[in-house]
């Protein structure tokens, strides 16, 4: 875990070998690479975070650049899971016996990206925490029941995608209401943790090592009487814009599709499959719009649109097809000032973003 170890000269080589194994779907080679590196002196925490974590990040980048399919991404994740398990079960590199408080590590309901949380769980376990790892998309009632049963001292909650923020908020307030402080981690909470703060999380950190340091310092119990309603944290929600967008998502989507066909002629020639993809894309747009309304932050939506434009471009889908979709949604939501403002800002960004020449699949926005 030392700095010298993290910039180990062999580290890049180990990473490249793991990437090659993962790319080829060869889990045995992947295990051999990582366990071998640990046996020849690589610190296990470095192996977890700077080898497996780094390669997993590359998997995401390569997917965005359309050089990996979703299925391949799943294969890579499954292989990484097995490598983490192999390291955890190896009697020589298993790590110390638990000597510290009990912590629950879980992904919010609907969140499938479990590997970042798994890596954090492993790092904490190796630092002596008694870790209960509940895995991907844990329904909030299960999480709370688990806290009641185990009396965990703290919860580490992971969310990767912004549309999970409202669910994360419900989980954070529920944990705090039963007296357990919440550490929030994962890309959904913002690169600077601003959404973790907006949702009232007790702590946040940008990566697993910092998370371990923050948790080592200890988090205070939430006030037993500090049971909060959603609008106590986010008073702007009383304007009902978020509720409206989520509540009428299906109607909005259907209307947008019909109108889009009028405004965007190429769509008339779309195959069923392309139509479904378009519907999915507009669904994602609505989900991110809802998330942006929820935390009252238009950057959340703008960043998503810029990222989507890159992903579409990498897949040879004309990214300017996003603009009519935003325009149509803007018309549908014209009575909602916050949504209108967010959609207009996103269109402006898209207009500035598109002319920039971009090699398909450089993936720099991931």
């Amino acid at each position: 875990m030392t700095a010298a170890n993290a910039t180990h000269p062999g580290l890049t080589a180990v990473r490249d070998r793991l990437w090659t194994a993962v790319r080829a779907g060869d889990e045995y080679e992947a295990c051999a690479v990582v366990v071998g590196a640990v046996e020849s002196g690589l610190d296990p925490e470095t192996a977890l975070l700077d080898v497996i974590g780094a390669v997993q990040l590359r998997v995401g980048t390569e997917w965005a650049a359309n050089r990996l399919t979703v299925a391949q991404e799943h294969a890579a994740t499954a292989i990484h899971e097995r490598v983490v398990a192999a390291l955890a079960h190896d009697p020589e590199h298993r790590g110390p016996a638990p000597s510290r408080s009990r912590i629950t590590v879980a992904c919010v309901d609907g969140e499938w990206h479990a590997l970042p949380a798994r890596l954090l769980a492993e790092v904490l376990r190796r630092r002596g925490w008694q870790v209960d790892f509940l895995g991907a998309h844990v329904p909030t009632p299960h999480l709370i029941a688990h806290l009641h049963q185990t009396g965990a001292r703290v919860v580490a909650l992971s969310a990767t995608l912004s549309p999970h923020l409202p669910t994360a908020h419900a989980a954070i307030t529920a944990c705090q209401a039963v007296g357990v402080p919440v550490f929030a981690g994962g890309a959904a909470f913002g690169t600077d943790g601003r959404y973790a703060r907006a949702l009232g999380a007790d702590a946040w950190a940008p990566h697993a090592r910092e998370a371990a340091r923050v948790l080592d310092r200890g988090l205070a119990r939430p006030e037993p009487l500090a049971i909060r309603q959603t609008v106590d944290d986010l008073p702007h929600l009383t304007d009902q814009e978020y509720t409206m967008v989520v509540g009428t998502r299906r109607e909005l989507l259907k209307e947008a599709l019909v109108e889009l066909e009028d405004r965007f002629p190429p769509m008339r020639a779309y195959s069923d499959r392309q139509r479904q993809r378009t519907a999915e894309d507009i669904g994602h747009i609505l989900d991110h719009l809802a998330a942006a309304l929820y935390v009252a932050d238009e950057d959340l939506f703008i960043d998503f649109i810029a990222w989507t434009a890159d992903v579409l471009t990498a897949r040879d889908v004309p990214a300017h097809s996003l603009d009519p979709a935003l325009e149509v949604l803007g018309l549908r939501l014209r009575d909602f000032p916050r949504a209108t403002r967010i959609l207009r800002a996103a269109r402006d960004t898209l207009a500035r973003h598109l002319p920039a020449p971009r090699k398909p699949g450089d993936g720099q926005h991931v």
């Binding site: 295990c31 299925a71 192999a86």
Partner: protein, 553 residues
């Protein structure tokens, strides 16, 4: 004040002739320099040394004299007719002195006995404070269903509001008492203590639910050291209060005051009992929840889907999602029964019992047990289904099930399967080149007809190929971008087509994620998925694939 006391007072000067002379309240008139210029009989009774000509500072209590000095000199105006009232004691009573100006610039002090109102106000404030504390304490105590957390909240609230330190003792578990301390610093410490409660006055009684021992009976010197927080400088007084549970004692609350603090009053003891009643109820609820949760998890252990792993050189993975968020079990199930050795078949079962939730799960458990007992007959799938069918028809359940049976065995690098459907949608196979095939097996529902029929299919999986078994919760999941479309078998096939060469878990994760994302936040039936995968890379069958060095690439 009774005017009959008039006779006690000597002759009065001119100013007494006003209406105030016979007022029921004591009235004292002073010039602005503080000389008494008049008083009524009531005032004379109250201030026996007061007389016209005496100094206010000599005959009246200091709080009146100093309030008098604060008044601005000068003749009466409409504005300063009255100054602000002063409060203070006279003997054991509390009085309010209200100044008002007379026309000639003197100040007339009306003294109103305020004692009872003040007492009422103080006790009202106290009552309000206690009521709001009890309400707040109830909310805080009810927040958690974890016993240790309840004890922690109880101890810290008690230490903050009722005493210098508080200790909560729960009934013994295996001869040891869970003890939670909270000292003046608010730090809470949990311990398990081996102790004899009878040695502590009042504690043994409290733990047996007897009425509390009055604090004046408890000798603080008798409080055992294991009950005293380290930072408490000697125990001056102690109250031991039972924590009443639901019919049984939930433990005891011990409030401690340091040596130099006064003993507990009766009203404080009563208040401690009110608080203890709430704390006891919360602790009992937490204890009952823990007991129920332990029972549930014991009973449910056999109903939960098993964790699958590689067996005899074949990979298995499974995923399960019950229909309701709060459920952990339901009507879908799967099992993998490993062959006794690599030469014998491993039996995979995936099934779907009509219905969902706990009731379906119970029948699911019976079917799983029955199938396990019938394993020796697994060589003949049709026979096995007939026996299970008979068992289901003869039971009192009206439910039925659909099943898939797969007997799996690896020969060389190829994995051989015998697959039989009992009324279940056929499994799918993804070939190394991404082609997806439906396994050709059909059969009757189990538990409906006396006679059932089935056809068994033979499947061979080359390295990297997977057979996917799934329940109709996957294909019939409604959702998608428009919210009301079925996921459908084609989408399952499409998803599987991308899974050639992938590890078993990755195939399960991929299909499951697509189906669940399709559903979104909508409702769905139970979903279960199992994969049987021929590993892409041969490795020795004795290992689970995790151990390094024992496989061949």
């Amino acid at each position: 004040m009774d005017t009959s006391q008039h006779s006690l007072v000597g002759p009065l000067d001119a100013p007494t002739e006003g209406a105030w002379g016979s007022a029921p309240y004591p009235v004292l008139v002073a010039d602005i320099q503080g000389g008494v210029v008049g008083l009524n009989p009531a005032a004379a009774v109250l201030l026996p040394t007061a007389a016209v000509g005496s100094r206010l500072a000599d005959v009246a209590p200091a709080w009146i004299a100093s309030a008098h000095e604060q008044l601005t000199p000068g003749p009466a105006t409409a504005d300063d007719a009255a100054g602000s009232a002063a409060h203070g004691c006279l003997g054991d009573r509390v009085f309010q002195g209200r100044p008002s100006r007379t026309d000639d610039g003197n100040v007339m002090w009306w003294l109103v006995d305020d004692t009872d109102r003040r007492k009422a106000e103080v006790s009202l404030d106290e009552e309000r404070r206690r009521t709001s504390f009890l309400a707040a304490a109830s909310s805080a105590l009810l927040a958690s269903l974890n016993l240790e957390r309840c004890m922690e909240v109880t101890a810290s609230l008690a230490a903050e509001h009722l005493a210098d330190a508080a200790v909560v003792v729960a009934p013994a578990r295996g001869g040891r008492f869970p003890v939670t301390h909270c000292g003046a610093d608010g730090q809470v410490v949990h311990r398990l203590v081996e102790a004899e409660p009878a040695g502590v006055p009042g504690l043994g009684e409290a733990l047996r639910g007897f009425p509390p021992v009055p604090s004046r009976w408890i000798d603080p010197a008798g409080i055992a050291s294991w009950l005293v927080p380290e930072d408490l400088p000697g125990v001056g007084s102690a109250v031991v209060t039972p924590l009443p549970g639901h019919g049984v004692p939930a433990g005891a609350l011990i409030l401690l005051r340091a040596g130099d603090r006064q003993a507990f009053s009766e009203s404080e003891e009563i208040f401690a009992r009110l608080f203890a009643a709430r704390a006891g109820a919360a602790m009992s609820a937490a204890r009952m929840y823990a007991e129920q949760a332990a029972i549930t998890s014991t009973l449910m252990r056999d109903l939960l889907p098993p964790t699958l792993r590689a067996v005899h050189g074949v990979e298995y993975a499974g995923a399960y999602r019950p229909s309701a968020e709060s459920d952990r079990v339901g009507g879908d199930f799967y099992d993998v029964h490993p062959g006794t050795d690599a030469d014998r078949e491993t039996m995979v079962v995936l099934g779907d019992v009509c219905g969902k939730g706990l009731e379906a799960a119970v029948l699911t458990g019976k079917i799983r047990n029955t199938l396990q007992a019938l394993l020796p007959l697994a060589g003949d799938h049709q026979r096995l289904l007939e026996l299970l069918n008979g068992a289901l028809i003869n039971s009192h359940h009206t439910r039925f099930a659909t099943l898939l049976l797969a007997s799996v065995r690896r020969l060389g690098r190829t994995v051989h399967l015998r697959v039989t459907s009992g009324g279940h949608p056929p499994p799918l196979v993804v070939r190394a080149d991404g082609r997806v095939e439906r396994v050709d097996t059909r059969g009757s529902l189990v538990g409906v007809f006396w006679n059932i029929a089935s056809t068994t299919a033979h499947v061979e999986l080359a390295p990297g190929e997977t057979c996917l078994l799934f329940t109709d919760g996957v294909t019939e999941a409604r959702g998608g971008p428009l919210g009301d479309e079925m996921f459908g078998p084609e989408r399952v096939e499409d998803a599987l087509a991308h899974c050639a060469g992938m590890p078993a878990e990755a195939v399960v994760d991929h299909v499951r994620m697509l189906a669940e994302q399709w559903v979104g936040h909508g409702t769905h039936d139970d979903m279960a998925l199992v994969t049987v995968t021929a590993p892409r890379h041969a490795h020795l069958s004795a290992v689970d694939g995790h151990t390094r060095g024992r496989f061949t690439a």
